[in-house]
């Protein structure tokens, strides 16, 4: 797929998403908002597994910390100012990612997978067992964040459509931010690390430093998703950080197509919609979901979006052949 067709289809998709709340019912607006949030989360993980070559199996920890930072700081507040809450969530998630990353990037391969899992479990159990932050009951938020200048409300998120556009804006910003850093020299280095770390190191780059920065960026972005989820549902609890969530996030990235930035977004649509509609088909829907994921790994390891170029190529070839008809007749 050329970058022009890609950008064109992305733009058309964006227009469709912008128009969607005008037609969709409040339930579907909420559902797509959730998909945006999951997509941001998956995008952040894609930076690690798809571009830097770091398979993190504990990414849900940063998602959870983003949500918890919001909930802990503002559980008793009557007004939650976005300009206070959002930076706080991002900083908390980024800081946690710095600590976890500093410990984990010294390992590689299977060890990296396992140590990120273990660190995430540590956060999970801390929030689950310590009664300090609500334990397994979690924390409720009774208000949605607002953006105010002086005493004037600019943006109130308690309206579902407002939240929708806010989440969409976050997704688009996150996407563009990743496009930007991947085009920058930094992006070239991390993709080179994924391809061949030894060679990059031989060229004199401190690969661990680059990996750590990538890890912190990804963690911060996951914190943004966690912030949105906490604000959207008005509720955070330790299960945000469970290893199941980390596993599902990996599934989303791969299902959509890792190493592309639109893949995780497509993956988020697929998984959230499947989770939403499969249970209506059968009580044993997890069997189906599991089956679908297995099928993708075995037959479509580059994800659903790897089908797009093939589909386009298929139609192109048809167009070329059909009008001409059989030439040798």
């Amino acid at each position: 797929m050329t970058s022009r067709t890609r950008n064109l289809s992305l733009f058309m998709a964006l227009v469709a998403l912008v128009l969607f709340p005008l037609f969709g019912s409040s339930f579907y607006v909420g559902l797509v908002t959730r998909i945006f949030i999951v997509a941001i989360f998956a995008l952040s993980l894609d930076l690690l597994i798809g571009y830097t070559g770091l398979v993190s199996f504990g990414h849900a920890a940063f998602f959870g910390i983003g949500g918890y930072a919001l909930a802990i700081a503002f559980q008793d507040a009557a007004v939650i100012h976005i300009w206070q809450a959002l930076p706080l969530s991002l900083a908390a998630a980024g800081l946690a990612a710095l600590v976890v990353g500093w410990i984990s990037i010294r390992t590689s391969g299977v060890y990296f997978i396992m140590i990120t899992l273990a660190m995430a479990q540590m956060f999970f159990y801390y929030f689950f067992e310590s009664s300090r932050f609500g334990g397994d009951d979690g924390i409720f938020l009774f208000f949605k964040p607002v953006l105010m200048i002086g005493s004037e409300d600019i943006l109130k998120l308690d309206h579902e459509n407002n939240f929708y556009y806010f989440a969409l804006a976050c997704l688009v910003s996150g996407y563009l931010f990743l496009v930007m850093i991947l085009r920058a020299p930094f992006g070239k280095v991390i993709t080179a690390i994924k391809a061949n770390e030894h060679r990059v190191r031989a060229l004199g780059y401190s690969t661990n430093g680059y990996k750590l920065v990538s890890f912190v960026i990804a963690g911060t972005l996951a914190g943004l998703a966690g912030f949105l989820e906490g604000a959207h549902t008005g509720y955070v609890n330790p299960s945000y950080m469970s290893w199941h969530e980390s596993g599902v996030c990996i599934a989303i990235v791969i299902l959509g197509g890792m190493g592309t930035l639109y893949g995780p977004i497509v993956g988020a649509f697929i998984i959230v919609l499947l989770q939403n509609f499969l249970p209506e088909l059968t009580g044993h829907w997890q069997l189906l979901l599991g089956g679908i994921v297995i099928a993708v790994v075995l037959f479509l390891p580059r994800g659903a979006t790897s089908l797009f170029p093939r589909i386009i190529a298929f139609f192109r070839s048809k167009q070329k052949i059909d009008p001409k008809g059989p030439t040798d007749g």
């Binding site: 010294r106 396992m114 479990q121 801390y126 990996i250 089956g291 390891p301």
Partner: protein, 289 residues
């Protein structure tokens, strides 16, 4: 607390360590020999427990249940390897994580379809149902000692097979250089299918042996999965010796953590893992990658 209290806790710790080793040994085998990261390991443990429950109910004897159940578990392992895992050798670990994660979903549902959602248990065989007095009011079941003995025997047998037999030699060679062994005329595919089903068999065997002292319930595999990963990683992947030491270490830390730091009982285990990996990123007995 008196000294005897700590001695009993030490016994508990070692016992728990043996159980952990039993579960983790299969995992480390797959890690080390095949380079496979198998998240469905807990599901195979669950499969073992349910097979033990089902077949013990049918035959009236745990021994017969294990005897009939093991071939079933091995067959399941073989099929999973042939139809799924064998496609993954050339791919990144990432795909193994995802595929085996999906297998967890599948196995959990299959368990419910086959055996329903009740909580079950398996009676301890009459011959091992006794217990002996530890302190003035606490006694210790003989069956727990039997499990420890079984673990020691199994650890010895695994060590012997892998280090001393021709089969073990082939397996080790296949792990370090797949193509070379293939070129020597050994069917590596068949060999790996065999190893994978052995790994599954070990997990299931652990589930079977533990069934009489555990309870058998849906989702039970999730509880053992993560902790066995911790054991394997602390010990160093692929090292049977490492898994043994790792299991004992976790047994000790987790048991005394529960007693001395009850608030942080679950956190200490993961903290230990983080500390050990900071010090030795490849685990205690792992080879430097």
């Amino acid at each position: 607390m008196e000294l005897s209290f700590y001695l009993v806790q030490l016994l508990n710790a070692i016992q728990y360590g043996f159980l952990l080793f039993l579960v983790a040994s299969g995992l480390t085998l797959l890690f080390g020999i095949m380079g496979i990261i198998n998240l469905a390991h807990g599901s195979f443990y669950m499969l073992g427990s349910y097979l033990a429950y089902w077949l013990t109910g049918v035959t009236g004897s745990l021994w017969l249940g294990i005897l009939l159940g093991l071939p079933i578990a091995l067959a399941v392992g073989y099929l999973v390897e042939r139809f799924a895992i064998s496609f993954l050798f050339k791919l990144d670990h990432l795909y193994q994580v995802l595929l085996t994660f999906a297998l967890i979903l599948v196995f959990n549902e299959l368990q419910q379809i086959l055996w329903g959602t009740d909580v079950h248990s398996v009676p301890i065989p009459a011959i091992l149902s006794g217990s002996f007095q530890l302190t003035e009011n606490q006694s210790y079941p003989v069956y727990r000692l039997f499990i420890s003995a079984a673990c020691i025997a199994l650890a010895g047998a695994m060590y012997w097979v892998i280090q001393k037999t021709r089969l073990g030699m082939t397996i080790r060679a296949g792990a370090s250089n797949r193509e070379m062994v293939q070129a020597l005329g050994i069917n590596v595919n068949r060999l790996f299918a065999f190893v994978f089903s052995m790994g599954v068999g070990l997990a299931a065997f652990a589930g079977m042996l533990a069934a009489p002292i555990d309870s058998v319930y849906p989702g039970m595999g999730d509880n053992v999965l993560i902790i066995s990963f911790v054991v394997v990683v602390i010990g160093g992947t692929g090292s049977i010796k490492g898994a043994f030491v790792g299991a004992m270490l976790i047994g000790l830390v987790s048991t005394f953590g529960k007693v001395l730091l009850p608030e942080m009982a679950s956190v200490v285990v993961y903290a230990l893992m983080a500390i050990i990996l900071l010090w030795r990123p490849q685990g205690l007995f792992g080879k430097v990658a």
